[in-house]
């Protein structure tokens, strides 16, 4: 079951670290970094049922979907 309620002890710290991780990267490098983040986090979660929920939740919030 995907947790969508607050689950981080230090949300501001995480957000800052996330943006910092992209500092000085080109758009292309940032894309590559994001892909690596997705893959590492997905492996950490592991459970395919949860991962499917993640994909659906992310996609459902996109505006102007085909």
């Amino acid at each position: 079951m995907l947790i969508t309620t607050p689950n981080m002890a230090a949300p501001d710290d995480f957000y800052e670290a996330l943006i910092d991780a992209h500092r000085d990267l080109s758009d292309e490098q940032s894309q590559a970094l994001n892909a690596r983040l997705v893959l590492l986090l997905a492996n950490h979660i592991g459970d395919f049922a949860v991962l499917k929920e993640v994909l659906a939740a992310a996609r459902s919030t996109l505006k102007h979907q085909p």
Partner: protein, 555 residues
């Protein structure tokens, strides 16, 4: 071994060509490739008179399918051909995957001991066909191959099929109870019936070449490169075959010119660069065969159309990554052979005959879907179709250098394993009270294991009967003797000894556990405490007898 590559088979006129009325044959197989020949040999071994028609008079031109999987070798063993192929072929189980210049992943497809056959052999297709053709010649009293016989017309009637056939002496007609089209991806039978194989065509081109070189130091391993320095931005695959031949496969991209790329002056520098990268830049080689190919993942909606059945590439197509083409075709043939034999011998009639032939179509359509799914996933990884797909692919490869988890995502081809025939109408589901592991559930291909019969070493699959086999762990019950069309094999009872305990582990055996194997060595039922009624019901069910479909009604 004979020079099968240059072997030519003589066209011989048949008395059928002078007959006034089309002569009727029980089964006509169209196509003498590995699938058609395997099917014909299997049918003939089961006593069915079989006629094979082939539009050519030679075996495969070039090596083509080279990777023959363990399950396929076990089928060839049953056909009396396995030893000759394994002796000639190059056995391998290991694969290595490189990204750039570095190895990122290695796999072993058969990491456990106690199997007669390796995960794979590499053997040129013409050798496989040649060994099957030799075996067919031994069965000449029941099995005839007519070379230079091209099917030009197919007419399906209520009581049979009429074929129009063209020969060097002109056309003639034949009749058959049933026709099996094993005539490849451009199947003439399929198009003559107005049928199609549909799916996804991939916009990419690959150069495939066989080179002969003496390189005894190279291990017999499958090697796959993503984006190597000697062929940047594309993939490369290297395999060792018999006769010091090596198969190289270079991804070229969609814009490559298929005619120019086949020229030796284009191929030589590519091979030279590959060899230099593995420390063999000085090795002399000659190019013996080359082709530029594209591929599609597709299948027919149904593998049975009345009295005409489709098998192999005629029925379905996959990319080469995973060796799922010829292997799945031979597995089609073995699925169909025993069913067709039951129908032709009259053991299965009416609804049971229909149910059996339909079960061929459903089971192998299911297997084709699994092969296409695996093949499509591999292809999407090897040749990403969008920017984001490429982004994730390269991220996986980069991560795989550092992190073990990413190596499991690297997909250079998921290599052929037999499909589990889940959901087949021929399976008897496990009794809810019987605890079993999932691996050898009804529908799975039986696992091999080393056995001893008296003083002789033996193997579980070689001990199986030609029809059904009841494997019993412990003493066989007295009623097993009278089971129809069934060989009983008592392991650690009276017949054979499970020398290393592999059979007991693989089958999760307890004293009294029994597995019922179909003639194609797939499990169709299993029990912890079998009795005669449930075993008979399971045999009837596996023979297409819908009336006995419910085991509850019988016990």
């Amino acid at each position: 071994m004979r020079d099968y590559q240059s072997l030519e088979f003589e066209y011989r006129a048949s008395p059928d060509q002078r007959a006034v009325e089309p002569v009727r044959h029980p089964v006509i197989v169209v196509g003498a490739g590995p699938v058609g020949l395997a099917l014909a040999v299997d049918l003939a071994q089961r006593g069915v008179r079989t006629l094979v028609l082939d539009n050519d008079h030679k075996l495969s031109t070039g090596s083509r399918a080279i990777c023959f999987a363990k399950r396929t070798l076990e089928i060839f063993d049953r056909l009396g051909c396995g030893d000759a192929m394994v002796d000639k072929g190059v056995s391998w189980s290991r694969g290595r995957v490189y990204f750039g210049a570095d190895e990122v992943y290695a796999f072993d497809l058969l990491p456990e001991a106690g199997h007669e056959r390796p995960a794979f052999i590499n053997l040129q297709q013409y050798y496989v066909e040649g060994v099957l053709a030799d075996r067919a010649a031994e069965l000449a009293d029941r099995l005839e191959i007519r070379w230079c016989n091209a099917v030009t017309g197919v007419e399906q009637r209520d009581d049979g099929v009429v074929l129009r056939v063209d020969t060097p002496d002109g056309p003639y007609a034949l009749q058959a109870d049933r026709v099996v089209a094993c005539d490849g991806s451009r199947s003439a039978v399929r198009s003559l019936l107005g049928l199609e194989s549909q799916g996804r065509v991939f916009r990419d081109r690959f150069l495939i070449a066989d080179v002969t070189m003496h390189a005894p130091g190279f291990p017999a391993e499958r090697r796959f490169w993503f984006d190597p320095p000697f062929h940047p931005g594309q993939s490369v695959l290297l395999h060792k075959q018999a006769d010091d031949q090596w198969r190289v496969d270079f991804q070229l991209g969609w814009d490559a010119d298929p005619v120019v790329e086949r020229e030796p002056e284009r191929i030589v520098p590519r091979v030279r660069a590959l060899l230099a990268s593995i420390g063999a830049g000085d090795t002399a080689f000659t190019i013996v065969w080359a082709s530029v190919y594209t591929f599609a993942c597709m299948r027919m909606a149904s593998f049975r159309h009345g009295r005409v059945l489709f098998a192999g590439d005629a029925a379905h197509g996959v990319s080469p990554f995973g060796a799922r083409g010829a292997n799945s075709g031979v597995q089609d043939a073995e699925n169909l052979a025993w069913k067709l034999a039951q129908v032709e011998r009259g053991d299965a009639q009416g609804d049971a005959a229909d149910a059996l032939l339909d079960s061929y179509a459903r089971e192998r359509e299911h297997a084709a879907d699994e092969n296409i799914l695996n093949s499509t996933r591999s292809t999407d990884f090897i040749t990403p179709k969008s920017k984001v797909s490429r982004l994730f692919r390269d991220a996986v490869l980069d991560l795989s250098r550092e992190f073990a988890f990413a190596r499991r995502l690297v997909n250079s081809g998921r290599l052929s394993v037999p499909a589990v025939l889940d959901g087949s109408s021929l399976n008897t589901p496990d009794d809810a009270r019987d605890a079993f592991d999932a691996a050898l559930r009804p529908g799975a291909a039986a696992a091999d294991a080393p056995l001893r019969r008296g003083a002789e070493r033996s193997w579980l699959l070689r001990e199986c009967g030609r029809d059904f086999t009841l494997l019993v762990f412990g003493r066989a019950p007295a009623w097993a003797q009278a089971l129809p069309r069934t060989t009983t094999l008592a392991i650690d009872g009276s017949d054979v000894i499970d020398v290393d305990g592999h059979a007991a582990v693989r089958y999760g055996a307890q004293p009294g556990t029994a597995y019922l194997l179909r003639p194609d060595q797939h499990v169709c039922a299993r029990w912890r405490t079998p009795n005669e009624a449930v075993v008979r019901a399971a045999i009837a069910r596996a023979c297409g007898h819908a009336a006995l479909r419910s085991t509850e009604a019988v016990c």
